[in-house]
């Protein structure tokens, strides 16, 4: 947010509002119009003591941070999605949940986010207000605050309606160690629910497929679910959220990093019938579709039941399932036992999935 005049303080300044329906380049000029836009759209939703000073930086107390753990986690991600609003979410919810999830899968408790927006002139102010409210609600539900930000407005065609970049910091629980280096042969691979919902919802929401399926994105913060998992199973070997590239990419990364094989059982991979149907029609593979509210975790064989039960007790983990295990051979590859009784390799996605001609 822009630096404020030193003479005014938060308590005396009247909050600005935008009275025009659409954002223009004037709102990016650094003057009153820009301050009004920031006040009206963002400050009114994100309000918290760290943000309200509108300094060039948020200042955090170190002692507050060290209460929760012994290491900081820091991450950043940019969000570009078309359309901006889709069943189950919008770019705002995605930008907050996505960065929270990147922290949470590292075993961190997410605390604070920054939010930088690049706005294309001509976007409706009401849409921006809705998206900011969605960001605020998502952050509040996850117990995270948005404490600093930046706003830019660019000319038509210089960006596609709205780009959002969020960075986040979180604190990693003392003693927690997750990562591929801890995975052993025989460990179980678990997913926390239906796969592919987000990718399918976005494809469907673009509307050019003329499919009448109602598929909602799974977009959600995962820190609550991961808290529950770590509470009963602090020995979890590995946690990751299968976003772009889907499940297939995550399990391939595991196989590559560990040198172990991963054996998947197609029949136990939870995929909604609507998503399967859509993939059948378009010739896509749901294993490569993006998820925005799922975890893939690896746990020791004897902890499987405990971990599974913890995930299933949570509202967004009800369909959690064991989908495979780490095996000695073939080294570094992912194999899937198909529902048909055959076996095939599941490889990394090459480029982008393109619908097939026939």
């Amino acid at each position: 947010m822009s630096r404020q005049d030193g003479l005014t303080t938060k308590s005396f300044r009247r909050r600005g509002t935008v009275s025009v329906p659409k954002v223009t380049l004037a709102h990016g000029g650094g003057g009153q119009a820009m301050r009004d836009l920031i006040d009206d759209v963002f400050i009114s939703c994100f309000d918290n003591p760290l943000l309200a000073n509108l300094d060039d930086q948020a200042r955090l107390s170190l002692s507050d941070l060290t209460r929760d753990g012994d290491r900081l986690a820091f991450t950043t991600d940019s969000y570009v999605v078309d359309p901006l609003e889709f069943p189950g979410g919008d770019i705002g919810k995605l930008a907050v949940a996505g960065t929270i999830n990147d922290l949470a899968v590292g075993g961190a408790r997410p605390l604070h986010l920054s939010c930088a927006v690049i706005i294309e002139e001509g976007i409706e102010v009401d849409l921006l207000r809705r998206l900011a409210r969605s960001m605020a609600a998502t952050a509040a539900a996850a117990g995270v605050t948005i404490i600093t930000g930046d706003t830019k407005v660019v000319g038509r065609g210089a960006c596609d309606k709205l780009f959002i970049t969020t960075s986040g910091i979180g604190v990693i629980r003392a003693g927690l160690d997750t990562g591929p280096h801890r995975i052993r042969q025989g460990d179980a691979v678990i997913v926390s629910g239906w796969l592919g919902d987000h990718g399918a919802a976005i494809l469907n929401a673009r509307g050019d497929l003329a499919l009448s399926a109602s598929i909602a994105s799974d977009c959600a913060p995962l820190n609550g679910l991961i808290d529950d998992l770590l509470a009963v199973c602090p020995e979890v070997r590995f946690i990751r959220d299968p976003t772009r590239g889907g499940l297939a990419s995550v399990v391939n990364e595991i196989a590559e990093a560990t040198g172990l094989g991963i054996e998947l059982d197609e029949a136990s991979i939870p995929i909604r019938p609507e998503v399967r149907g859509m993939c059948e029609i378009l010739g896509l593979d749901p294993l490569y579709l993006a998820n925005e509210g799922k975890v893939v975790c690896v746990v020791a064989q004897d902890a499987t039941e405990l971990a599974l039960a913890a995930l299933q007790r949570h509202a967004i983990g009800a369909k959690a399932s064991v989908i495979g295990r780490a095996v000695a051979e073939p080294r570094g590859r992912v194999i899937m036992e198909t529902t048909f009784g055959g076996r095939r390799i599941v490889d990394m996605l090459i480029g982008e999935q393109l619908p097939r001609i026939c």
Partner: protein
């Protein structure tokens, strides 16, 4: 999922596999060498790899992955023509998704799009016609691609454009025909195939009669097959049954879709709009007589080849490519000199590495699991 899961039943698959094994014992050739059955259609290749069907078969049965992927067999010169048309100012070039990545000699359509050409992925030629209605000041070109499967929809779209008097719409016609291609494979001197799985969707249009020359003149059985894994297993079993009974016929496994005489309305539309070319260039197979169609003269105003000055330069396949030998079953994809090294799905040299329906890309993507695992381990 209804009407899908029934065709993927693992229990029925086990029964079929046992039956296939039983038949293999009765076929004389199998005592000397493995049987080679070609699935002509890329859709079949995809199913075979996706469900691991090759690994379910006894060692004595080998599947050879045929030329039936229209995206794969598109020669570089034609892709260059696409790019040239797409780069004309005011043109909106529309294409099916998987043709975006096919490499030309300079660039693919995806690269042309990145360089500023207006290239759009669509799901039906009717989407292209809709663009023509919405953008009367642009010329909308549809990349007509595929065998007889997609030919009727292109033809009907042209007829629709004519009926509505839409003039800013044209087809860059690269449709190809299946029968001359199968014949070219049968005529090759190093042919080793013992039978064919005939394409399902093509046959829905042309029927099963056009294949009758294969058993009659070449003595090879043909079974027109569906696309679900049980369809494929059953069709393989039907080919083996013919071989064990020393019969050579055209049989139709995909009877729920394919009529013997094809679809008269679809064939009518094709004949109205298209005519055979003297020859058409294929990636990996070279020039094949009468294997492609072009727009009839009466539809010249919808023919992008007439509307635009296309370079139409023939570009030779890279020398290192052994696509032709793979297509004919002489070698397997991984035995090609450049497989997985110079030729990968990210940087395909040869036709078969281009689309997921191509044999080499399928081998690369889904893996020839046999090289990694003992066959026995894959068979419970």
């Amino acid at each position: 999922m209804k009407f899908v899961d029934e065709f993927r039943d693992a229990y029925k698959a086990r029964i079929l596999r046992a039956e296939i094994e039983r038949l293999v014992g009765r076929i004389e050739i199998c005592r000397y060498r493995p049987l080679q059955i070609m699935e002509v259609c890329g859709g079949h290749t995809h199913t075979i790899f996706r469900y691991g069907i090759s690994q379910m078969l006894p060692d004595a049965v080998e599947l050879v992955h045929g030329p039936g992927c229209p995206v794969c067999v598109l020669p570089m010169g034609r892709v260059d023509d696409c790019v040239a048309i797409a780069e004309v100012p005011g043109v909106i070039f529309t294409t099916f998704g998987d043709a975006m990545r096919v490499p030309g000699s300079r660039k693919s359509l995806m690269q042309a799009k990145a360089d500023g050409a207006d290239v759009r992925m669509i799901y039906s030629p009717l989407d292209a016609l809709e663009l023509a209605r919405r953008h009367p000041c642009n010329e909308i070109v549809f990349f007509g691609l595929g065998f007889e499967t997609t030919m009727p929809s292109t033809a009907l779209t042209v007829l629709q454009a004519e009926a509505e008097g839409i003039e800013n719409f044209s087809i860059f016609c690269n449709h190809i025909t299946i029968i001359p291609t199968i014949k070219a494979i049968l005529d090759s001197p190093d042919l080793r195939l013992d039978g064919f799985l005939g394409p399902g969707h093509v046959s829905m249009v042309i029927g099963t009669r056009p294949y009758e020359f294969i058993p009659m003149l070449y003595g090879r059985p043909v079974v027109v097959a569906g696309f679900e894994p049980l369809d494929i297993l059953q069709s393989i079993w039907m080919v083996l049954r013919q071989l064990s009974e020393k019969r050579q016929e055209v049989e139709n496994q995909y009877r729920r879709i394919v009529p013997r005489d094809g679809n008269a309305a679809a064939l009518g539309a094709i004949n109205r709009v298209f005519e055979l070319r003297e020859f058409f260039e294929w990636r990996g197979l070279g020039s094949i007589d009468h294997s492609g169609v072009r727009m009839r003269r009466s539809y010249a105003r919808y023919d992008a080849e007439k509307k635009f000055a296309v370079p139409a330069v023939s570009i030779a396949d890279p020398k290192a490519c052994q696509c032709g030998e793979v297509l004919k079953g002489v070698i397997k994809p991984h035995q090609c000199k450049v497989f997985g090294t110079a030729c990968t799905p990210e940087t395909p040299l040869g036709a078969l590495m281009v689309s997921t329906e191509g044999a080499c890309a399928a081998y690369y993507q889904y893996g020839a699991i046999g090289e990694l695992l003992e066959r026995k381990a894959a068979m419970p």
